[in-house]
Amino acid sequence: MENPESVSRESKTKKRRKTLNDDQTQSISNNMKWRTEAEQQIYSSKLFEALRQVRRNNSPAEANHRPRGRVVREAADRVLAVAAKGRTRWSRAILTSRLRLRFKKVRKQKVTGGGRLRKVEVRKENKGITVLQRKVRVLGRLVPGCRKLSFPNLLEETTDYIAALEMQVRAMTALTQLLTGGAGGLAAPVDQLQSNLTSPT
C-alpha cells in the first residue's frame, strides 16, 4: 500500500524539480544560443540589410529629422529582437514599441536609450521603497518592456538580454570593422566574413 503512494509522491516532487530543471536547461541553452557563431552571422547579415534599408528610407525624406545614429540604433535593436524569435519579453517589447511608434507617428522615447539617463531620486527616509527595490526598478527600466515584472522573471529577462546585447556588440563591431577598415584592415575582417560563410556552425 505504501509503495505506490510514496512513488506518486516522489514523482510529484520530482515533477516539480524536473520543471525547474527544464527551465534551467532551457534558459541555459537560450543563453548559449546567443554565443554561437550562427546567431552572430544571422544577425550580421540581417543587420546589414536593415542598414541598407534604413539608408534607402532615409535618403529621400527624413534624413534630417532624426539623428542617423538613433535610426541605426533602432534598426539594430529591432533586428536583434527579431533574432530573439519572440521568445523573450524584451524582444517583443522592442518590436511592439517600434510598431506603435510607426503607426501613431509619435516621437516618444520609450525604449532603452533615453530612459537610463533619468534616475528617480528617492530619499532614504522613505522606507517604503527599499534600496533593493529601487535597484530592481532601475533594472526594470533598463531592460525594455520589463518595468512591472517580478524580480525572478526580471532576472531571467536580464540574463537573456545581456547575452543578446553581447552578441549585438560583437556583430556590430565586426561590421564596422569590415566597413570602415582600410585596405590593411580589410584582410582580417574579410577573413572573418569568409569564415562566417564557410563554417556555418
Binding site: R9, S59, R68, R102, L186, T198
Partner: protein, 444 residues
C-alpha cells in the same frame, strides 16, 4: 490490530480496577455498567463507521484546535465530565491522569491528550453513554505511553475499531495531522468552526484532504515534531486525495509554515537566477549580496547599451558609403582579397560555400521583406503576431509585392558574390521561394 483490542480491554479492566481501587469510589456496579456500556458502544461504533470516520476527521481538526490552545485542557475535561455526572467520581482522577505524564516527553503529551481529548470530544457529540469510551482511551493512552511508540495507532484503532482499509488510510492521514498539530496555526479557527457546525462529510473530507496534503507535504525531514519512524510512516501515507499543489519539502530545522515555504521557493528561484547572472556579468564573482550584484548588473547593462549606441553612431557615419558604394565596394575591395584566398579553400569548401551563400542570399531576401514590413500598412496586432510568432510568414505575404522591388538592389549584391564564388545564384533564386528554406533558417 483487532487482536490488540482484547489486550487493551484487559489492560483497561486492570487499570480501571487499580485506579478504582487506588483512589476512587467506583463500585463493582459502576464497573459493570461501564463494561456493558462499552460493549454497547462498541456495537454502536461498528454500526456507525462512516459517521465515525467523518467525525474522526472533525475531531482531529478540533483536536488540533484544542491543542493549539483555544480551549484549555481543563475546560475540555470539565465539559466531558459534566456530560456524565454518574461517573463523575471516577472522572476527575482520570482527568488528572494524563496530566502528570507531561514530564514524559513533549510530544507524547500531545498524543495522550490527543487520545483523551478525542474521546472526550466524541462524548460531546455522541450520546452520554459513550462516556464509557473514555477509560479505554485513557488506559490505552497509558499503555501507549508505556510503549512509547505507535500510540496514535492505538488511539485511532480504538476509536474506530472495525473499519476497512480506506478508513485506515484516512486515520493514518489524520494521525499525521495530529502529529503535525503544532505547525498548523492559521486554519485553526476554520477547523473548530467546521467541527462545531458538524459539517457534512464532503467538507470534512475536503478540509482534511487539504490539511493532509499540506501537512504531508511538509512532513518529511522535519525533526521538530516526531521521532523518525512515526514521521516516516505518516509521510508515506500521503496523497489519498489529489489537490494540485506544488509539493515542496521542508528541510531539517526549517519552518513548515506554508508562507515560509513559498517564500523559500521564491528565494531559491531568485538566488538561482542571480547565479546565472554572476556567470554572465564579468567581475561579479567577488561580490555577494543582492544589492551589490544588482549594481554590477545595472552597470554592465548600461555599458553594453552605451557600446551599442556608440557602434550605431559609427555605423551611421559609415552608412552613406553603404548605399552608393556597395557595388563598387565589394566588387573592388573585397573581390581581390576573396579571390586571393579562394584558391586556398579548395573544391570542397566551395561546395560548403554554396549552401551557406544560398542561405545568406535567402536571408537577405527575408531581411528585406522584414524591413519592408515596417513600411507596409498593417494593423499592429497582426504585425506583432507575425513578428513574434511566425516570422516565417513574412516573406510569404510580402513576397508578391516586395519580391520584384527587391530584386534590383539585391541583384547587384548577388552578382558580385556570384562573381566572387562562382556560384550560379540565379538558379537558386529564380525558383519561387518556398517557405522551407526560411523555416530552415529560422529554425537553426
Amino acid at each position: 490490530m483487532n487482536r490488540a483490542l482484547p489486550e487493551m480491554l484487559h489492560c483497561l479492566n486492570t487499570s480501571v480496577g487499580n485506579l478504582a481501587g487506588n483512589c476512587t469510589d467506583l463500585t463493582v456496579l459502576d464497573r459493570q455498567r461501564t463494561r456493558i456500556k462499552w460493549q454497547q458502544e462498541q456495537f454502536q461504533q461498528q454500526q456507525q463507521q462512516q459517521q465515525q470516520q467523518n467525525y474522526f476527521a472533525s475531531q482531529g481538526q478540533q483536536l488540533q484546535g484544542l491543542i493549539n490552545g483555544d480551549l484549555r485542557l481543563d475546560q475540555v475535561v470539565t465539559r466531558s465530565l459534566k456530560v456524565d455526572p454518574g461517573l463523575e467520581n471516577g472522572w476527575p482522577d482520570y482527568g488528572k491522569f494524563p496530566l502528570p505524564k507531561t514530564g514524559f516527553c513533549e510530544e507524547s503529551t500531545g498524543f495522550e491528550s490527543a487520545g483523551y481529548l478525542n474521546g472526550s470530544a466524541f462524548e460531546m457529540n455522541y450520546a452520554i453513554s459513550r462516556t464509557a469510551s473514555c477509560p479505554p482511551a485513557v488506559a490505552e493512552a497509558v499503555a501507549a505511553v508505556a510503549d512509547g511508540k505507535g500510540k496514535e495507532s492505538i488511539v485511532t484503532e480504538k476509536l474506530s475499531s472495525a473499519v476497512g482499509k480506506e478508513s485506515f488510510k484516512k486515520r493514518k492521514a489524520d494521525k499525521a495531522q495530529n502529529s503535525k498539530v503544532v505547525a498548523e496555526d492559521d486554519s485553526r479557527d476554520k477547523r473548530i468552526k467546521g467541527c462545531a457546525e458538524e459539517e457534512d462529510s464532503k467538507m470534512t473530507e475536503q478540509n482534511s484532504s487539504k490539511n493532509n496534503s499540506s501537512s504531508n507535504s511538509k512532513n518529511n525531514n522535519n525533526n521538530r515534531e516526531n521521532s523518525g519512524d512515526t514521521s516516516k510512516e505518516n509521510s508515506k501515507v500521503s496523497e489519498v486525495q489529489k489537490p494540485d499543489y506544488i509539493h515542496v519539502r521542508a528541510r531539517r530545522g526549517q519552518a513548515t509554515d506554508s508562507h515560509s515555504l513559498a517564500e523559500r521557493v521564491r528565494r531559491e528561484k531568485i538566488s538561482e537566477r542571480m547565479k546565472y547572472l554572476q556567470d554572465l556579468v564579468p567581475g561579479c564573482n567577488k561580490i555577494t549580496g543582492k544589492a551589490g550584484m544588482l549594481d554590477e548588473i545595472i552597470n554592465y547593462v548600461q555599458s553594453l547599451q552605451r557600446q551599442v549606441e556608440f557602434l550605431s553612431m559609427k555605423l551611421a557615419a559609415v552608412n552613406p558609403r553603404l548605399d552608393f558604394n556597395i557595388d563598387n565596394f565589394f566588387a573592388k575591395e573585397v573581390f581581390p582579397a576573396c579571390t586571393a584566398s579562394f584558391p586556398t579553400l579548395g573544391a570542397t569548401s566551395s561546395e560548403m560555400a554554396n549552401p551557406a551563400l544560398l542561405q545568406l542570399n535567402q536571408l537577405q531576401q527575408v531581411i528585406s521583406c522584414c524591413g519592408l514590413e515596417m513600411g507596409m500598412i498593417n494593423p499592429p496586432d497582426m504585425g506583432l503576431r507575425r513578428t513574434t510568432s511566425a516570422p516565417v510568414s513574412f516573406p510569404e505575404n510580402f513576397l508578391d509585392t516586395s519580391y520584384f522591388n527587391q530584386i534590383q538592389p539585391s541583384t547587384t549584391w548577388d552578382a558580385d558574390l556570384q562573381n566572387l564564388f562562382g556560384v550560379d545564384i540565379h538558379q537558386g533564386r529564380s525558383t519561387p521561394f518556398p517557405s522551407q528554406p526560411f523555416t530552415d533558417n529560422y529554425e537553426s
